[in-house]
Symmetry: C2
Subunit: 222 residues, 2 copies
């Protein structure tokens, strides 16, 4: 079986286990006709702000980075509504897992893999999201930006995996639906499994993920 060389499988959280665009339902209710646009810009700015803060060593918890990104996106799109920020941030706390997430995680655990999460999210944020999704006890390790006070794609955050699992990076399968995350993880030395849900080309960064699938279910298909 293809996954045999790996005893440890580590997942990105936002966009990989949890559908960050599930907030677009709430966004569409608040701003009819603009929900998808808001949701996409919010996500883009959230990622951009984490990169800028990582590069310039201006860490702050991902929850507030996420709130800042929403604040900017609403201003940029000229959307105003009392209480909208609170409602949308609340939606982010209760992000939906993808439909296959729970079944795939359960199956991999049953097969004996050691599972982890490596996320830009801060401890409280990821705990809340996991709890609301009923996944609190599914992962041996939940590794977050809090500990290293920086974000992906700085090496320090990927290094958390080897330390926590006491394993060499080459034995780690890293699963992400974010192409940039899969690229950087490969640069770092993990084997990456890119979940390419939208059938996009991979980023042109002189590196390719070792594996590619359409959903988490493809982890079980080899």
């Amino acid at each position: 079986m293809l996954l045999e060389p790996y005893s440890v499988i580590v997942f990105d959280a936002f966009g990989t286990l949890f559908d960050v665009h599930s907030v677009s339902v709430k966004a569409e209710k608040l701003f009819p006709g603009r929900g998808n646009e808001l949701s996409l810009l919010w996500r883009q700015k959230q990622v951009e702000y984490s990169w800028l803060r990582a590069m310039s060593r201006q860490y702050k918890p991902f929850w507030t980075v996420t709130s800042d990104a929403l604040d900017y996106s609403l201003k940029r799109l000229n959307l105003r509504l009392e209480g909208a920020v609170d409602e949308l941030m609340q939606a982010y706390e209760t992000l939906s897992p993808f439909e296959e997430t729970s079944a795939v995680i359960d199956e991999l655990r049953n097969q004996g893999y050691r599972l982890g999460i490596l996320t830009n999210g801060n401890n409280e944020m990821i705990s809340t999201v996991l709890k609301n999704a009923g996944l609190s006890s599914s992962f041996e390790q939940v590794l977050t930006s809090d500990k290293v006070q920086t974000f992906k794609t700085v090496d320090a955050i990927y290094e958390l995996v080897g330390s926590a699992f006491a394993i060499d990076r080459s034995k780690v399968l890293f699963v992400s639906s974010n192409a940039w995350d899969a690229a950087a993880a490969t640069w770092f030395g993990f084997d990456a499994f890119w979940i390419n849900r939208l059938n996009l080309p991979f980023e042109s960064l002189d590196v390719e993920p070792r594996f590619e699938g359409e959903s988490l279910t493809d982890l079980l298909r080899f």
Copy 2:
């Protein structure tokens, strides 16, 4: 006069002195109806790739980063045409300055300011662009990513200014039309002048540029 505390004024190049969307004219000729979309995605990916390479210490010259970004953008938008990459990269070598660029630079030089460029571009790339725009001898210092082998917003690249001009960073006025660059320069310790050509809100990064204008001409208006 407002600019008096500053003896040194340093400009970002791409997007600030030169209009990166001037390539969209060529793009529109090659791909009718899709030129603007291609031009915007190309620019976004160019910046993203520079950030990812800075964070993950995967430097390569900005010219090839720019070419990679174009390669991805064409694939992503499903645009195919023999020779398109060469034609568009050539357009990038002959980027148009903004209409006011030359006059403002000349006036500031006449007023005795020491002028510099600080760019993600590599030496050859920025030399070619300056030459094609007739600006080769307008700047006392042209500082590039080549020397530090990284990109904005890592401190090392902003540090080039203090070294080259032998001046404390607090005496430097840094001019950029990229809000993220103005924010990071402010984090670093420069006073930033944000050229907000598109009347956008500033990024929500807990920092504000010291000055804001609509075009380079506003540098002369105080």
